[in-house]
Amino acid sequence: MNTTASRAQVAFNYALLTLCSIIAIYPLIGVALASLYPPGPDSAPSGFGLPPTFAWHNYVTAWEQGKFATSFTTSLIVAFVMVPASVLLSILGGYAFATMRFWGSTVLFYLFILGLIIPTEATIVPLYYDVRAMGLLDTYWALIILEVSGEVAFGIFWMRAAFLSAPPSLLEAARIDGSSSWTTLWRIMAPFAKPAILTLTVLTFADSWNEFFLALVFTVNKFTAPAGLASFSGRYTTDIALVSAGAVIVAIPILIVFIIFQREFMRGMLTGAVKG
């Protein structure tokens, strides 16, 4: 290999990655800095410019005025039920599709894939009438059920791929050793797919936490954090500092979850990408 060319390539890779990182981080840093400008209609945050004084109190004001205590509670309750339910169903579905041969499995799997392709917006009107008929409007259950049904499509697709990456001999050895399908799943396959499961958990939590559209349509008093932020920003549309503080508050839980699971998340994302 030509070392000079290789170094140039490495330098180019770094330059490209740095550029992409800046593009990704720029709005985040911009929002974080804007959240620290003195509040009020005259406040004029500008890009990466440092605020004249750091108005940390903006966060307290935003928390109280945005009623984030209520919307955070909703988001936490929904996520607390929805994430385990969704991950559990995804594991069970993914395992079945990956390891069992049953009549209609291909058609069923493509049906799940269809769930990935069709946008929620396309089904929202009939869904609204269904939810209303069930008497679930403005309840946690409306959000939980709809989010779970939306997530399992991706979850099953994801977990199926994770289980398929296991050597078939592992399953066969378990069958010969006398392990039932249930035991094989929880004692052999789930530990094997742990990185993928943790990644799915993080992604599902992020999706649940970021839920905006369903909350806007199906709830009135049970807004999720992003929906709460939307109504907050409507009311304080001229106060960019407070809106930015609200945005940072809403983003913090996801950031914490990601930092906690960062290593497993990366491993899960790379599962199957490189030969183990």
């Binding site: 050597p167 050895a173 069958r175 010969i176 050793d177 094997f192």
Partner: protein, 364 residues
């Protein structure tokens, strides 16, 4: 322990017949090796016995029980996989104990069996390690141990040595053989390596394209192959073949093509002399010609390759019409690439086959 019987077993995958009417009886405590090239159906035959594939036709018995519709876990067999299939998140101890736990065996007995197997395999100090912390050889032993603790009716082994380096492979194959003799469990062993087959098996079953070509003890299969496939597959370096015209000359038969001409005894053809015949010669039965050696020949040719094997060398010799023979010679043989040489065959060591049916006729 139990005997195993395949009775007219066929396995089809769609239009492809992977195993065709396999009938094979494996005695209690016997070590039988299924050997053949890729796609010969040997692994499918093993998987059918394990219950990992469903038969299309026929019957398989383990002991006196027909197991066609018995789940793998209820067949009381243990399998060693090519990639070992150790459970990655479990320690070696847990790997060995898993099948016993699934059978709800008392903890004390599990402990006893695991310790005994670990001792037999010399992996006692590895029991608390995870598979990723083991070398290939150690993983292989753990895989064997996992089969051993079960004390099953039969061991099934699917190319268990193919992931080991050459030196370790030689060492481990004798250990497996020794282990099997110690415990006396019926063993069906699959390999594509004919050296492995010859060194390990009490009997060898040679398969090709889903068909059992020959089964017998290693010496019989080597010395009396039933057809050109077995003759060419068993033995390393492989047997050389040439198809020649044949005619009777009194009590002798002359087989010839171009300048190549051999005189064979007519008694080798009790059912008459065919117009054409395929001869087969193993490298160890061909030698450089010298007058008075008593060899059948001579065959004139040129050296096409020389492979130094250390103790001896292997010459590739081609005749003018490109018939090729391989010949073992002393390591200090002066023969060099391109040299003209004359080769002779030990009397009684020329294998004769029908070129149309590929079946063996005899030796001359």
């Amino acid at each position: 322990m139990a005997h195993v019987r395949y009775d007219a077993v066929t396995k089809r995958f769609g239009d492809v017949t992977a195993v065709r009417e396999l009938t094979l009886e494996i005695a209690d405590g016997e070590f039988v090796v299924l050997v053949g090239p890729s796609g010969s159906g040997k692994t499918t035959a093993l998987r059918l016995l394990a219950g990992l594939e469903v038969l299309s036709d026929g019957e398989i018995r383990v002991g006196d029980r027909v197991v066609n519709r018995v789940a793998p876990r209820d067949r009381d067999i243990a399998m060693v996989f090519q990639d070992y299939a150790l459970y990655p998140q479990m320690t070696v101890y847990q790997n060995l104990a898993f099948a016993l736990k699934m059978r709800k065996m008392p903890r004390a007995e599990i402990e006893q069996r695991v310790q005994r197997a670990a001792e037999m395999l010399g992996i006692g100090e590895l029991l608390q390690r995870k598979p990723r912390a083991l070398s290939g050889g150690q993983r292989q032993r753990v895989a064997l141990g996992r089969a051993l603790v079960r004390e099953p009716k039969a061991f099934l082994m699917d190319e268990p040595l193919s992931n080991l380096d050459a030196k370790l492979r030689v060492q481990t194959r004798s250990e497996i053989k020794h282990l099997q003799q110690q415990v006396g469990t019926t063993t069906v062993y699959v390999t594509h390596d004919q050296v492995e087959a010859m060194t390990m098996g009490d009997r060898v079953a040679v398969m090709n394209e889903g068909v059992l070509e020959q089964v017998g003890d290693t010496r019989t299969v080597y010395e009396h192959p039933t057809n050109t496939f077995v003759a060419g597959f068993i033995g390393s370096p492989a047997m050389s073949f040439a198809t020649l015209g044949a005619r009777r000359d009194g009590v002798e038969v002359t087989v010839s093509r171009g300048d190549l001409s051999l005189t064979l005894p007519g008694t080798a053809f009790p059912e008459g002399v065919p117009a054409e015949i395929t001869i087969g010669v193993r490298p160890e039965h061909a030698h450089l010609w010298h007058d008075g050696s008593g060899l059948v020949g001579p065959i004139d040719g040129r050296v096409r390759f020389v492979e130094m094997l250390g103790r001896e060398a292997l010459l590739g010799v081609s005749t003018d019409d490109e018939t090729r023979f391989t010949v073992f010679v002393d390591a200090d043989s002066p023969a060099r690439l391109g040299d003209p040489v004359r080769v002779g065959i030990e009397p009684g060591r020329t294998y004769l086959f029908d070129p149309h049916t590929t079946q063996a006729i005899g030796t001359a």
